[in-house]
Symmetry: C2
Subunit: 223 residues, 2 copies
């Protein structure tokens, strides 16, 4: 007997594709979009397009102008800094909490993430690396019994990720991120909450280093 695959609804698919196109900058910030545009772009009627726009406007990726249309949000340095601030506040708290109690099974999944990232570094596959970066942070929250923290961070992360898409990413950037992950896990294993928090903090701030450079290089898509 086959388990029923809970197939994705049209709205979910459109939302996922639109989000992806926004995050990868396939749809450049500042673009104007109508519900109709979205619908025909992804092969649906207005309704799924409308619901996707509403959903993404909740995480501030698009701005809905009442009665007029929607615009892909420009990358705002202020929003970026605030998102990073809140993310850091949450993730440092999570890692601290993880140091006092962490699910055994999650620990082995962390190991899997590290291994997968190791492979991604070798093959230079940035997308793969990023997938497991997400999973790494999610697993930390899960192991600490704080999945809600991850759902909040996930939303904030979207803004940060969009900026990361611009970053050229020198060859050894991934290697550095991986080393930071390993430092976090090491501190977690040692139940050293101060070290873990510090490692997490420096890991997260990593991403904002070359923000000024990026803004100078792409003035049109910044606010």
């Amino acid at each position: 007997m086959t388990v029923k695959a809970p197939s994705e609804s049209v709205t979910q698919r459109v939302e996922r594709q639109l989000r992806s196109d926004i995050l990868t900058l396939a749809l450049p910030p500042g673009s104007r979009l109508s519900e109709q545009d979205i619908g025909s772009r992804y092969g649906s009627s207005r309704q799924p397009g409308r619901e996707a726009l509403i959903a993404l406007s909740k995480s501030r990726l698009v701005e809905i102008l009442p009665q007029r249309g929607a615009v892909i949000a420009k990358i705002s340095v202020a929003k970026l800094m605030q998102a990073a601030f809140v993310r850091e506040a949450i993730e440092t708290a999570v890692i601290r909490s993880a140091c006092s109690s962490f699910h055994f099974h999650a620990r082995t999944r962390l190991e899997d993430c590290l291994k997968a990232q190791e492979r991604a570094v070798e093959s230079g596959d940035r997308a793969e690396f990023r997938r497991y970066d997400d999973l790494f942070h999610r697993t930390l929250a899960d192991g600490a019994g704080l999945m809600m923290a991850w759902t909040v961070v996930e939303d904030l992360k979207a803004h940060i990720d969009r900026a990361c898409c611009l970053s050229l990413g020198k060859g050894d950037a991934l290697r550095k991120l991986l080393a930071e992950h390993k430092a976090i896990v090491a501190a977690l294993d040692a139940r050293d909450s101060h070290a873990a928090e510090a490692a997490m903090k420096s890991h997260l701030s990593e991403l904002l280093q070359d923000l000024p450079t990026l803004e100078a290089a792409h003035p049109d898509i910044f606010e």
Copy 2:
């Protein structure tokens, strides 16, 4: 010449009313709702009802069962604890940041909040007190230049507030909360980030004190 009042759309009104009815427990957790129900309850067609349900499902106040309907989320102790954890992580970080830099004008608005809450305590108006409690915390974030932090907290707070509606609230509870607000402001004025963080922490944990009692008293609406 009068400024045009940007009148509320039907969807917004329905969403606001539904949210309010959920938070005040006028709609008890566990109730099943259809788009049609919402529409006729608040005098609209199914569409605004649908969009309101979708919106509230994002903040996990209702759970949408695909092809079947929606239910008002039950109060979950686990979700409540996680929401409180994340809120504390964010708000303590905000108050710490506020201690290093805080907008002058926001400081006077804090004073207004305290005064208004003083009056609310005198008249015993809990709703009024709560309104200014929100404004107090929002103003802290605003003054620190971290409004995004407040938008995140606001969503988490919904779950906490719903539980607070159950709490009988002894007469001097408000007085205690007000005193805590004053302690936070005092520490902020002194730029004493450790004291401010501690004051905020104890203020937020205040709300969860009698959670076990509540759960025992209302087993039906807990998960």
